[in-house]
Symmetry: C2
Subunit: 161 residues, 2 copies
């Protein structure tokens, strides 16, 4: 067992989180569930566009169908020991050919263009809760966004007391 | 976009999969769902013991409660572009202090000992379907186990026709 690095403060975790979400050709694990409670999980490319996680999947995929029905997903970005966990809601579903600026933003970050494939849609996912941690010593303080709002920095909280 | 390596055959993927599952201190993404269809996803340490995925979680955790209710999980091991996806069923739940040989096997592979914490259980998960792929060119042929049975190698299928 290696000795973990010192736990990052919230401002550092938020900066690291935003940097990770903006990384070119990065993937996201998308967990969804059917109405009957069957879990699903797939890795897909992500784009971070206007504080939204945008993924492109086939409209007929389990992920798209689960999200259309439930409206919620749990996302993970990064390796298991430097993770960003996002609980998100489906904001909109857009056929990949239907909105040029969204497709351009997606293609700019992802390493493929879904417009070359048939039947793909963009799922635009709005984060509601964001957590980030590396090792066990970062479990405390892992929540960076709650109810859709980034939490204040510790010093901000102290200043406004 | 990089040019992907040549697609691996089934025997190679199975060997790579077993090697990955036996890696010391490796983690697994565990996706579960509540009866109401809320998805959950966490990364935890795994041990591969007797063809079962063994994880240790708090008995009160969302993962343990979802699995107790539904009996099913979808697991992912490896990075997003060298992934092993496992659909699994809960075979048994064992308090970490209750079975010495299971705990010994877990601790031998994982990099922590859950017996040092309070309220942890081992979830013993039996794979039903196993898939492995790296890039898009490996989507075909990704299924290595179906209905709990490892699929025959291609040459075996041909020999027994």
């Amino acid at each position: 067992m290696t000795v973990p690095a010192e736990a990052r403060d919230r401002a550092t975790r938020r900066a690291d989180t935003l940097a990770m979400l903006g990384t070119p050709a990065i993937d996201v694990w998308v967990a969804t569930a059917s109405a009957a409670g069957a879990p699903h999980l797939v890795p897909v490319s992500l784009a971070w566009v206007g504080e939204r996680v945008v993924v492109a999947v086939e409209a007929s995929s389990v992920t798209a169908r689960n999200l259309a029905a439930s409206g919620v997903a749990r996302l993970a970005v990064g390796p298991t020991r430097d993770v960003v966990m996002i609980d998100a809601v489906l904001e909109e579903t857009v056929a990949v050919a239907d909105r040029e600026e969204l497709a351009a933003a997606y293609v700019d970050q992802a390493d493929w263009d879904p417009r070359g494939s048939t039947g793909y849609v963009f799922l635009v996912l709005r984060p509601v809760r964001v957590q980030a941690w590396r090792e066990a010593n970062e479990i405390a303080g892992r929540t960076l966004m709650r109810d859709g709002t980034w939490l204040l920095e510790n010093h901000d909280v102290q200043e406004t007391r």
